[in-house]
Structure formats: C-alpha cells, structure tokens
C-alpha cells in the first residue's frame, strides 16, 4: 500500500489503555510495541 490514509503519530495520542501497557515489564519483555497496535487499528479504520 503505497499511500496509507493515515500516519501513526504517537505523540498526539491519548490512549490510556494502550499507553499503560507499554510500561509493564511483561509487555516490554515480550516485545510488545504500541506502534503495532496503532498500525493495526488505523489500517482497519482506513480499509
């Protein structure tokens, strides 16, 4: 997809549910990344 209709800009998001997870040790150690979550839901929104 050359032109997705969105850009992930985490500095602008207030998303307590997700942002709280990225501080948790088990999430960090597992490789959890918030941009993966954001990329997914934004793709589903702009499909």
């Amino acid at each position: 997809d050359l032109h997705q209709r969105f850009e992930v800009d985490e500095t602008k998001y207030n998303d307590p549910l997700v942002q709280e997870l990225e501080k948790r040790k088990d999430y960090i150690a597992s490789g959890f990344r918030t941009d993966f979550i954001y990329e997914r839901v934004l793709t589903e929104a702009f499909m």
Partner: protein
C-alpha cells in the same frame, strides 16, 4: 470436481491425498480433516487453516483452491507442492548456491510479509512448512497454529513454533509477543540454509535455551529491557554474544550483509528485531549475487 488418488501423508488431524482437479487436469493436494478425532467438534487447527487461508492470496503463500464437506469430513483442496525446503537442505546430493539461498529467503520473506500485513501470525515457520512448487516457488504453508495479531489485552500461549525455530521470548514464556517470533524462525532457517545442518537443535525446551544462548549469547537487560523479569532468568548460564569474527568463522560462505541480515533476524530483543519489511529492504537483497530465478533452481 476432484479425484483422490494416493495417500501422501498423515498428520494428527488430517490425511493428505494427491489428486487431480478434473476441470484443469492440475495436480492438487486434498487435506482431509478427520472430524471424529476431536472431541470438541471441528479441530482448532482445521478452523485456523480454513480461517486464514481464506483471506490470504499471494504467490508465496499456499493457495486454497476449494473446501468441501464429504462423508462428514472437511476437505481442503490445496495446490500441489511436491517438495519442501527441509528435503532440499537434507539431501546432500542437491547442490545449491548463495543465489539460490537468496531466492528462497526473498520468497519466504515476501510470503510472511503478506501474512503479517494481514495481521496474522504464522507461529510455525520451519523448513518443512516452506513448500516448493513445481516451478520452484517457495510457498508458506500449514496455518494450523496461526492466529490473528492479538488485541492489546489478549494473552497468547507461548507453546507455539517447533522448538528449534522458537524465539527466545517464547522460550521465556512470553504472553504478549508479536510478529517478531516469525522473523526469528526465518532467521534460524536462513542459518540452516547456509550451514546445511540445523542451527539451534535443542533436545528439549530447557536445552533449547542453552543451545540458543550458547550460540548467540545470553540476553541482558542492557540489550533487551526487562528480560531479567522473566521467571527462570536468574538460573540461566551466562554466555557472551559471539563477535562478528566468530560469526564469520561459523558462516564462512556468508557475505557481510548476509551476516547483518541474519544477526538482525536473530536479534534477542523482539522490540528491535527486524520486521519483514526491514529484511526485504536490507542490503543483502540488493548486492550480488542476484537471487536465482526460482524456475532455474534444480
């Protein structure tokens, strides 16, 4: 529309037959899913195969031609793929070149990129799940362990991926892992293609950690934040990470960019391990030798 001619394999939940599609005369594989075996109705692996293959459509992912019910069995009609990468690696009579390896890696990464782009984790990448078509194309197959990328709060089982190809975060029992587990598997396959022997052959789960960390170094919080928070971390034997030179000696045929690609696919920290796009865009695929034309690979 189809014939079942010869039984070519039997797994826990399915029997595979070789057959023909009458309309085209093409060879097909019919995966007949046993239904009586699973006490909870349709088998989870069958549900996963059906669910994800229905959505994927890519030259490097096995093509699901049709599905039908017959005599209370679920039948998946798949394109016929006569061999797989495990056969090629094991058969010492088959000589292959760095250009062949590059071609297989390119096709594998394209197929897995398509799976990931559809927000699906494969979770069982290994040489014998990378099938090869009559014209030499690599096809990612066996989605019996696949699942959609989890939502933020979902817990995942770490008991996935065949042991030798299992990422360190899974060995530690991680429950919030990502696409990175598939990239690790491809990294191990890449090493195996260059060595022509299994790279990290652990005898059991504990030994798998031992073998993995002895070869690639025991991870520390420095390069993998919070790795020490995994249960069992403190009992680990500490091994140093191999120097570049040691890796060169181990993989004598590998170019610098091949080693760089492999190192980044086998990055301990899953957060910084390369994703399929970074792999595909790496120097390794831009430098000579160019990847072989799949049809020319014998």
């Amino acid at each position: 529309n189809y014939t079942k001619e010869k039984k070519v394999g039997e797994g826990t939940y399915a029997v595979v037959y070789l057959g023909k599609q009458l309309s085209s005369g093409d060879s097909i594989a019919v995966k007949e899913i046993k239904t009586s075996e699973f006490k909870d109705g349709l088998d989870m692996s069958a549900i996963r195969e059906v669910k994800y293959l229905q959505e994927l459509n890519h030259p490097n992912v096995i093509n699901l031609i049709d599905i039908f019910m017959a005599y209370d069995n679920l039948n998946l009609v798949l394109e016929f793929l006569p061999t797989d990468l495990e056969v090629v690696i094991k058969d010492k009579n088959i000589l292959f070149t760095p250009a062949d390896i590059k071609s297989w890696m390119l096709m594998t990464l394209r197929g897995v990129y398509h799976v990931h782009r559809n927000f699906i984790l494969h979770r069982d990448l290994k040489p014998n799940n990378l099938l090869i078509s009559p014209d030499g194309l690599i096809k990612v197959a066996d989605f019996g362990l696949a699942r959609a990328v989890p939502g933020p709060r979902e817990m995942l089982t770490s008991n996935v991926v065949t042991r030798w190809y299992r990422a360190p975060e899974l060995l530690f029992g991680a429950k919030h892992y990502t696409y990175a587990v598939d990239v690790w598997s491809i990294g191990v396959i890449f090493a195996e293609l260059m060595l022509r022997i299994p790279y990290l052959p652990g005898q059991d789960d504990m030994n798998q950690m031992e073998v993995t960390f002895r070869a690639l170094g025991t991870p520390t919080d420095k390069q993998w934040p919070e790795v020490s928070s995994f249960p069992g971390y403190n009992k680990l034997q500490i091994y140093p990470s191999p120097s570049r030179d040691e890796l060169r000696k181990r993989f004598i045929a590998a170019t610098e960019s091949a080693l760089t690609l492999m190192e980044n696919m086998l990055m301990m920290n899953p957060q910084t391990r390369w994703n399929t796009i970074q792999c595909l865009e790496s120097e390794y695929f831009k430098e000579l030798p160019a990847p072989s034309d799949p049809a020319d690979i014998n």
